[in-house]
């Protein structure tokens, strides 16, 4: 059996770990709330933007735009492009200690690589954990953004711009995005969504709404493409924020669990400590009694 002093030492360390996890839980609760507010605001913005976009998509007939691909004989033009190189944007966190959050994303990313093994694949990690992991594994990275915590519109704009350039300079033929979708109170799941080419934006909206007879200023194409660019930026910003929200939510849960576990361990240790102390007293007593009986 462990000595009383050893047990006391263990209790002390468990106690201080517990204090840390509790503090982290509070911090992530606070950050989660802030991220969620930002996330819901940008979602409202993107919803309105998407609304206009679907109204416009209904009147799309023949488009010539470098960010569209005509693979599959779709009506929306762009140049023909055979998909050889695929890129996946992986939105992980900057830090660990959030349960299986990062692991799930990286696992899903590796699965994606396996599924697309007939293509030349590359990754764009966003967030430190993903970046480090891909670097250690020696996977090819087209771009990387090791800092996600400062997620703001400027970062989203920069990312959109650089990823667009990557596509336009033919370093990749298809860009997808994997991030953790946020579900309030529930388990968040990693999802893959298409980003470039932009065909997916039009295709699933086309049948949804009847064309509205708009006046376009300065012209349909200019307005439409500007809108698409804005939407892409917004989408990138939204997914950064959404994955951030999920990360904090995951960390909140993980830290809550850790704190509860800590309490449990502490309770058991306390019991053990009392038992040990009692045993020590009993032993000393019996020694004294035994010693006394010799003297008499």
């Amino acid at each position: 059996m462990a000595s009383l002093r050893q047990i006391r030492r263990r209790m002390k360390s468990v106690h201080s770990i517990n204090a840390i996890t509790k503090a982290m839980q509070m911090i992530s609760t606070f950050r989660f709330k802030r991220a969620e507010t930002r996330f819901s605001k940008i979602r409202a913005y993107l919803l309105e933007l998407g609304g206009i976009l679907s109204n416009l998509s209904a009147s799309v007939t023949d488009l010539q735009h470098p960010l569209f691909s005509s693979v599959g004989g779709s009506a929306s033009g762009g140049e023909k492009r055979v998909v050889k190189k695929k890129t996946l944007i992986v939105m992980t966190g900057d830090k660990g200690l959030c349960g299986a959050y990062n692991m799930n994303l990286i696992k899903a990313a590796l699965l994606w690589k396996k599924q697309n093994s007939s293509f030349e694949t590359s990754f764009i990690p966003v967030g430190k954990v993903g970046y480090e992991s891909f670097r250690k594994k020696g996977l090819s990275m087209a771009l990387f953004y090791p800092e996600k915590a400062l997620a703001d519109l400027a970062l989203a704009k920069k990312m959109t711009e650089e990823i667009k350039n990557l596509y336009l300079s033919k370093k990749t033929d298809e860009v997808s995005l994997i991030y953790t979708r946020f579900k309030a109170g529930g388990t968040s799941a990693a999802v893959v969504e298409p980003i470039l080419p932009l065909n997916h934006l039009i295709e699933n909206r086309k049948d949804q709404s009847a064309p509205v007879d708009y006046i376009y200023e300065p012209g349909f194409e200019k307005v439409f493409f500007d809108l698409l660019n804005k939407y892409l930026e917004g989408k990138m910003y939204l997914s950064v924020l959404e994955s951030l929200t999920s990360e904090y939510s995951a960390r909140m849960m993980a830290m809550k669990q850790a704190s509860e576990n800590g309490e449990e361990v502490l309770f058991d240790l306390k019991l053990l400590k009392n038992k040990t102390r009692q045993a020590v007293i009993t032993r000393e007593l019996s020694e004294i009694v035994a010693g006394a009986s010799i003297l008499v």
Binding site: K41, A44, Y45, E48, I52, L153, Y214, E217, L227, K230
Partner: protein, 87 residues
């Protein structure tokens, strides 16, 4: 009867304004444009400039915006902008 209609100004940081207005003047790419009730459906890009609107009481308000889009449909004006500089 007032000739009023809905105006909504949305940025990535939230809804900046939502309410009834009598008139809206927006900085379109091709120059400032005025919108009254029953305007035809319109989509335009906006430049950096002043978005002016008159509320139901007739008071004029100015919002400085940094480019974006404006949509008019069914007497609803929607302004999407990146950033509002001052309200």
């Amino acid at each position: 009867m007032l000739q009023d209609f809905d105006l909504k100004v949305v940025t990535p940081d939230g809804v900046a304004f939502q309410g009834r207005t009598i008139s809206v003047v927006a900085p379109g790419t091709l120059g400032y444009l005025g919108i009254l009730k029953n305007h035809a459906p319109l989509v335009t890009s906006l430049e950096k400039g002043n978005l002016t609107y008159k509320d139901e009481a007739g008071a004029t308000h100015v919002i400085k915006i940094e480019g974006g889009f404006l949509e008019v449909r069914n007497n609803r004006v929607l302004v999407l902008t990146d950033k509002i500089i001052t309200v």
